[in-house]
């Protein structure tokens, strides 16, 4: 569906930026006011607001004015629109097995594996 695809594009666009992913990650642990979210990013407030707007347009977060502050909260269900959940988990296990295989290949054939420093 075109509408569905448009939503997916917005979601992936929103997630394609590391600052926005970091903001979303922090909101994954609970709602926060904009000022608290902005503080550790090192960006000016307008920049952070712009990032939050992109996340909100994608439906990944909701914001709500509470007195003089604006509260942001994550909308986890939006992520599940973008991913087939089990495919994501499978990709994680496949990648993990790739890394195990590569790591095993770095070990000397006849030696026991030794912890690195």
């Amino acid at each position: 569906m075109a509408q569905h695809n448009a939503n997916l594009s917005r979601i992936f666009h929103a997630l394609g930026d590391p600052t926005r992913r970091a903001l979303l990650q922090r909101l994954g642990q609970g709602a926060l006011p904009v000022s608290v979210l902005a503080a550790p990013t090192g960006f000016a407030l307008p920049t952070v607001l712009r990032h939050l707007e992109v996340l909100e347009q994608a439906g990944l977060i909701q914001t709500e004015k509470q007195g003089r502050t604006r509260l942001c909260r994550a909308v986890p269900v939006t992520l599940s629109v973008a991913t087939d959940w089990l495919a994501t988990v499978r990709a994680e296990w496949e990648a993990r097995t790739d890394r195990l295989e590569e790591f095993l290949a770095t070990l000397e054939d006849d030696d026991d594996p030794e912890p690195r420093d």
Binding site: L15, L24, Q29, L86, T88, R90, L104, P113, P115
Partner: protein, 155 residues
């Protein structure tokens, strides 16, 4: 074992290393830390107590994000053959207050000079998972974000 295609997955692969080496990579913290998470994620503070009821815990530092710590409970240990753990329980079989809902099996068999490697992960039913997500699950969030990173970058 009966797998539910909606919630469970099985991964089968031949590895060239023998089961003894694969086992050590999965069960020795200093080795596990070197391959468990994708770079630049750092795995640290790995705790593995190889007995039923023992701890299986990792902490992952994801750049720009908060650290993710998960402590599960080992259920079965057959050296060089079978490692089973779950995050539904914590160490010592204490019920976990908030878990992603997973039981994982690492099964090793000799195959030629290498290993027939099977990883099986059982998960909650979709309904349970949905309600868990609606509550705002914590551990899966970082994982999903990390994976989506790769998906998004490829678009």
């Amino acid at each position: 074992m009966i797998l539910n295609p909606e919630t469970d997955l099985e991964l089968v692969r031949h590895l060239t290393a023998p089961p003894a080496k694969v086992w050590r990579c999965w069960t020795e913290p200093a080795l596990l830390e070197q391959w468990f998470a994708p770079k630049p994620v750092v795995t640290r503070d790995v705790k593995i107590d190889l007995r039923p009821g023992g701890i299986f815990a990792t902490t992952m530092d994801i750049p720009g994000m908060d650290s993710q710590t998960g402590a599960g409970c080992i259920l079965e240990v057959v050296p060089e053959r079978r490692l089973v753990w779950t995050d539904l329980l914590g160490p010592g079989y204490h019920p976990a207050a908030d878990s992603f809902g997973m039981t994982a099996f690492i099964l090793l068999e000799p195959e030629g000079t290498g290993t027939l490697y099977r990883a099986i992960a059982l998960h909650r039913t979709p309904d349970q998972r949905k309600s868990h997500e609606d509550m705002g699950f914590h551990d899966g969030w970082g994982t999903a974000a990390t994976q989506l990173d790769a998906v998004a970058a490829a678009l």
